[in-house]
Amino acid sequence: MTILSLQQVTKKFGATPIIRGVDLDIQAGEKHAIIGPNGAGKSTLFHLISGRYSVTSGAIKLKGKPIHNRPPYQIARQGLARSFQVTNIFPHMNVFENVRCALLWSSGYRYSFWHLLGKATRLNDRTHAVLDQIGLSSRAHYPAAELAYAQQRALELGIAIAGGADVILLDEPVAGMSHSEAQSAVQLIRKVTEGKTLVMVEHDMNIVFDVADRISVLVYGQILATDTPLNIRNNPRVQEAYLGEETAGA
């Protein structure tokens, strides 16, 4: 079943086309990686799906319902969550509050000003469970801004997965981490996205080939190929456009 579908999506900034007609169908439960050179438009694509940017033309559907040009909070409420390439947390709130806020809507609290969160035992338990998962339990009462970089990335991920969305977009979740940090982050991503749909932008090919069921290669705002990791690796056009230079550089 297709859970997320992009149809002829384009995006221009001014006169500059950045996304040039993307068609993509993501299956429910699939782990999908998007790779491509810097500036290809990967983050822009995520911004279009999650509602940060409006599309110039085309359609995006989540579970069959159009979501393009909707505000981010409406898309989030339909079960799509995301993380950001540049850490995007609530810096002056502590780690616990960061995660708890990410749980509020999906727990049904909406804009309530009559529930006291101190008494919301289930919510607080779930928050602690997420903190355990992302390994930040011991930092629960630190202001988020005071965390080390890798911990902030873990929190970034925690905010994205806390609400239990069934489609999760992760934009370069392990970028800037050391090798071992990245390894454990990947384990974590695997664990928390189990049974869910994951779309992930990632540069590290080992991680991509390891995690993804399918890969899309985005080059200059267009999808060059969408296929299994093995076929992508052997695709001559992909090698020429992208993988070749990557392996040469590495």
Binding site: P72, Y73, R77, F90, P91, L104, W105
Partner: protein, 407 residues
């Protein structure tokens, strides 16, 4: 839980005991003003400290609530309506809420500069309309009511200021409690989230605008309650109570007290009310000193008085607070002396009297030698303060790091 409860019990006890300690006409009058200031400053912090909305027009909701409350008093007087004047603050609150719903519906669309400018514009607009809609605002003369005409409340007719104080204390307690509880709700927590990062808040399901709107309405409600208390206490309102100067004073209170802490605005309200009522008896330059204090606070205590107190948490935690007493004294005494003689200088240059009493010494401002002493004292005390700073810094360092080692 028990600890939190005991804080509220202590707060209530203080509210009840204060009028016994300051049992004079002036004492009660100041306490009443403090009560009003606490509610408005706390309500302001729902916007700025907790919601990240810098408002230059918060007095609008205070003033509108107050005007409506005076009209309610008049209606009670003429028996158009009959209810106890103890509910007058709620009348103010409801009207403040209505005004906030109306204005907030468009002003909370954005935070930042846009919000600040709209708040300024609305403040000017409402202040200007007070001279146009004379029936409601009473023009330049304002509107006058009388709080003693309502049905007595258990025999109390509010002819005495101290009776008003106890009513105000009740409302301060209720308003403070509910403003605190608001911070513990989903809407209150999301207000913090939107303050920190409105964009990310939208990706976890919340419309930043709606979150701001809810805080804005709550702030309008409590500002209106403060306005109702003002109407009960002073029984008249003028344009001055909702103009930009009043809004500015509210901002000062919250800021000086400390935006980042729930009690901050309470401290600010107490300090500024005291300065306002006491200092203004001694000098017409008190606004100047208030301005200087604000600038110094912004520069050296960006987290306000409450933040300064909280800085000592670590040292206190490890029982090393007393090691700071002596260094504080060594720096504080000359600093106070320096400030006092500087104030003396300012006052002496301002005075028109022939004899100026400088720290008890009669000096003649027309003679040059009279200036030598205060100038020398200012410089000397300033130098002494400066030279003591390294010691204070070391002591501060020791008190905090020593504590860590003990852990």
């Amino acid at each position: 839980m028990l600890k939190k409860l005991s804080i509220w019990v202590v707060f209530l006890a203080i509210l009840l005991i204060l009028p016994l300690l300051f049992d004079s006409i002036m004492g009660i009058s100041i306490l009443n003003q403090m009560a009003i200031a606490i509610v408005i400053a706390l309500s302001y912090n729902m916007l700025l400290g907790q919601g990240g909305m810098l408002s230059f027009g918060h007095a609008v909701y205070f003033g509108l609530g107050g005007f409506m409350a005076v009209h309610a008093l008049v209606m009670i007087e003429f028996e158009t309506v009959t209810f106890s004047v103890t509910l007058i603050p709620m009348v103010g609150g409801l009207f403040g809420l209505v005004a906030a719903i109306f204005i907030g519906s468009f002003s909370t669309r954005k935070a930042g500069t846009v919000f600040a400018m709209i708040s300024l514009g609305m403040g000017e607009l409402i202040a200007a309309s007070s001279l146009i809609f004379v029936d409601f605002f009473g023009g330049e003369a304002g509107v006058i009511g009388d709080r003693t005409f309502g049905p007595p409340f258990f025999g109390v007719d509010f002819a005495q200021d101290v009776e008003v104080y106890y009513l105000a204390a009740f409302w301060v307690f209720i308003a403070t409690l509910f403003m605190y509880l608001f911070t513990q709700t989903p809407a209150g927590r999301m207000a913090n989230a939107v303050r920190d990062n409105p964009e990310r808040a939208e990706f976890i399901g919340y419309s930043a605008r709606r979150v701001r709107f809810i805080s804005f309405c709550a702030a309008g409600l409590f500002a209106g309650i403060a306005g109702g208390l003002f109407a009960m206490n002073f029984e008249f309102l003028t344009e001055e109570n909702l103009n930009a100067a009043t809004s500015g004073r509210v901002l000062l209170m919250a800021y000086i007290g400390g935006l980042g802490y729930f009690v901050g605005p309470i401290i600010g309200a107490v300090v500024l009310t005291l300065m306002n009522s006491l200092l203004s008896n001694y000098t017409e330059l008190w606004m100047l000193y208030l301005g200087i204090m604000f600038v110094l606070t912004v520069m050296f205590l960006p987290r306000g008085f409450a933040g300064f107190i909280m800085l000592h948490q670590l040292a206190w935690h490890h029982g090393r607070l007393k090691t700071l007493a002596l260094p504080y004294l060594v720096t504080g005494v000359p600093a106070l002396l320096c400030a006092a003689s500087l104030i003396g200088l300012i006052e002496m240059s301002h005075t028109e009297a022939d004899i100026f009493h400088f720290l008890g010494l009669p000096l003649n401002p027309d003679q040059l030698v009279s200036w030598a002493l205060p100038v020398l004292l200012t410089l000397g005390a300033g130098y002494a303060t400066r030279s003591s700073l390294p010691q204070l810094r070391d002591a501060w360092h020791a008190a905090n790091t020593e504590g860590k080692r003990a852990k």
